[in-house]
């Protein structure tokens, strides 16, 4: 508790408070804008880590992460286009509510639910992170190796419709991670001296998120403007409160654990929350036509999952979402290695960050509830201006890594890879996690094998490692069985589609 109070002392200094405000404003803005997300924003802002205090920068990045979760709901509800992948489900009921003239209530339940879930999630984070860190500190290299392998496997196999595409993206990431001479031998450097140190992760992150997305949007620039639903001040009636508070709590219960597991963040829990609310509702006739429960639950779930994501990030150094992965890059830029010792070694930084999450959450409620109509105005910005700015900052960020024009060429090449991945539907998350975790997995593997003097059996010598491998095997069996079942069921939706077309 004292530690947390000290944290508030750190977070409430004028400088850090300013960075928190900047973070939540930026986060809400990028959350509102479809295609631009917190991961891209944090990647573009990585150069600030060269000149800003670690605590300030991390407070800003956390604000962006939380803010993105709030902002995404505004676009989902008013435009029927999700601002973020975590708000896809919100659009189902939220946009219907807005079309029925209940946009104000939908925005209100999203913002208040996000606040409540974010606060509960942050409390859980404060309680859990140090305890998990104490457990993890006892683990040896073989267990670490197994846990990271599980993270890679789960992020790739659990997420997305196509496992094959996921694994293609993962191995692309691992291949990029291999470039360099970490082992003493030059690997994948193609005789190019400038590749000998490997490709800086900043460049990979900026290229994949910013350049790839900008090229993708440039290729699809002109489209019919979408109808936006005008909205006044968000507010809720008593019956809306009565119908919202249970979904908020259930959404939190779904969101937090899924955020903490390497299951790719907010998509799965928001979907589960939506299904649960549809089953439990007392107004089943309203679902599909704008039920407030269908907004309250998923919006609470996505914010709780953002808090949950920070548990493995801070306690193990394991990113489970794209944004968490880029925040991890920022920490590494500071020479900080998140993990079990991280909390004890940097109490001021960590507790300041945790305290700032409470502040960010409150700020977000304050700036989102009254200002939702103002944020919606961002959607009127012509995208060429927006993406010109993104490309500028992306190039600046990549160049400032080493002040070497070679990095800009790399930025271009990987940016085109990012465009191709979007074109062919490859998920971006496995790639970025592969780039970040690949070298660390190798590190743990060599360490484990060095201790055991080359005996491979050491890899399953620790109980935690064995448990992790069993979980992986179960996941593998689960996905294969699910895939079989989906294959058996598949003809049905196709028939339905055909019927819809013919009817």
């Amino acid at each position: 508790m004292d530690l947390l109070l000290d944290g508030f002392a750190t977070a409430l200094t004028p400088t850090n408070l300013l960075f928190a405000v900047i973070g939540v404003l930026l986060g809400t803005a990028v959350g509102v804008l479809p295609g631009i997300g917190p991961a891209m924003t944090v990647a573009l802002l990585l150069p600030v880590t060269y000149s800003v205090e670690p605590s300030s920068a991390l407070i800003m990045f956390a604000g962006i992460y939380y803010g993105g979760m709030y902002g995404g709901s505004t676009t989902s509800i008013l435009l029927n286009t999700p601002g973020e992948s975590s708000s896809v489900v919100t659009a189902l009921e939220g946009n219907k509510m807005a079309k029925n003239g209940r946009a104000a209530q939908a925005l209100a339940t999203a913002a208040i639910g996000s606040f409540i879930a974010g606060t509960i999630g942050t409390v859980l984070l404060v309680i859990l992170a140090p305890n998990i860190a104490d457990l993890v500190v006892k683990l040896g290299a073989p267990s670490y190796f197994a846990i990271m392998l599980l993270a890679l496997f789960a992020v790739t196999a659990v997420l997305g419709s196509s496992k094959l595409r996921g694994f293609v993206a993962l191995f692309l990431g691992l291949a990029i991670g291999l470039i360099g001479t970490t082992t003493g031998q030059a690997r994948l450097t193609f005789g190019e001296a400038k590749l000998a140190d490997g490709i800086d992760i900043v460049i990979v992150a900026v290229a994949i998120f910013a350049i790839g997305e900008a090229l993708w949007v440039a290729a699809h620039l002109r489209r019919k403007p979408l109808d936006i639903i005008p909205v006044g001040q968000p507010w809720m009636s008593k019956s809306d409160w009565g119908r919202s508070w249970k979904p908020w709590l259930r959404g939190t219960a779904f969101g937090f654990p899924f955020g903490a597991l390497p299951a790719g963040g907010a998509e799965v829990p928001t979907f589960l929350s939506y299904i649960t609310e549809r089953r439990l509702t007392k107004h089943p006739e309203e679902f599909g036509k704008g039920a407030i429960e269908g907004v309250a639950g998923p919006e609470a779930a996505n914010n709780a999952s953002a808090a949950g994501t920070l548990v493995p990030l801070l306690a193990i150094g394991l990113p489970t979402t794209a944004t968490a992965a880029v925040i991890l890059v920022a920490m590494q830029n500071y020479g900080l290695q998140p993990g079990p010792q991280f909390l004890d070694a940097n109490p001021k930084l960590v507790w300041g960050l945790l305290a700032s999450l409470f502040i960010a959450n409150t700020l977000l409620l304050v700036i989102n509830l009254p200002l939702a109509p103002v944020w919606a105005k961002l959607l009127q910005i012509p995208r060429p201006y927006l993406y010109a700015g993104i490309l500028f900052f992306a190039s600046l960020g990549a160049y400032s890594v080493n002040f070497d024009a070679f990095d800009l060429a790399l930025l271009g090449v990987i940016g085109v890879l990012g465009l191709a991945m979007r074109r062919f539907g490859l998920p971006v998350l496995p790639l970025i996690i592969g780039v970040i975790l690949g070298p660390r997995i190798e590190d743990q593997l060599t360490q484990a094998l060095a201790i055991s003097q080359g005996d491979v059996a050491t890899l399953w010598s620790e109980p935690v490692a064995v448990v992790v491998y069993i979980v992986m095997a179960l996941l593998l069996v689960g996905t294969v069985v699910a895939g079989r079942r989906a294959g058996a069921v598949q003809p049905d939706p196709e028939n339905q589609n055909k019927q819809e077309v013919s009817a």
Binding site: L33, P34, L79, T81, L221, R222, R223, K224, P225, L226, D227, I228, A376, L379, Q380, I381, P382, R383, P384
Partner: protein, 135 residues
């Protein structure tokens, strides 16, 4: 022979439409309403939705005028309006103009200005005032 109105779904467009209708009635000519967008922003409030198009069409037809509405996504809004003027051999074009500060002039190219300069026919430039709303 026609009167072409550059119409945006705001007060400037409303003024242009009201004056365009008045001119078309006087001259006994057909009306062509152009409402196009570059489509590069996710939301463009000046681009009318289908309901508004239907309301405008109905309101103009109620006055006994023939009206055609050009509605869609184009590369260049001013060029699309000028092209419409040329292809219909219009006798008059009507645009709504807004006050622009010196800084505003520097930052933004005006669609109305380019129509006024490029149109082959006389252009009537009107400003919004209370009570000109047709629809």
């Amino acid at each position: 022979m026609t009167v072409v109105v550059a119409w945006s779904a705001d007060e400037y467009g409303a003024a242009a439409l009201a004056h365009g209708v008045a001119q078309a009635e006087q001259k006994h000519e057909d009306l062509v309403v152009v409402n196009v967008t570059r489509g590069d922003a996710l939301v463009d409030r000046r681009y009318a939705d289908d309901d508004e198009i239907a309301r405008v069409t109905a309101a103009v037809k109620a006055l006994g005028l023939e009206v055609r509405i050009a509605h869609g996504v184009v590369d260049d809004v001013a060029a699309a309006v000028v092209e419409e003027i040329r292809s219909t051999d219009a006798t008059l074009a009507v645009v709504g103009i807004r006050h622009r500060s010196p800084v505003g002039k520097m930052l933004m190219g005006s669609v109305a200005q380019r129509i006024i300069l490029d149109a082959p026919c006389p252009v009537l430039a009107v400003k919004p005032e209370a009570g000109t709303d047709l629809v």
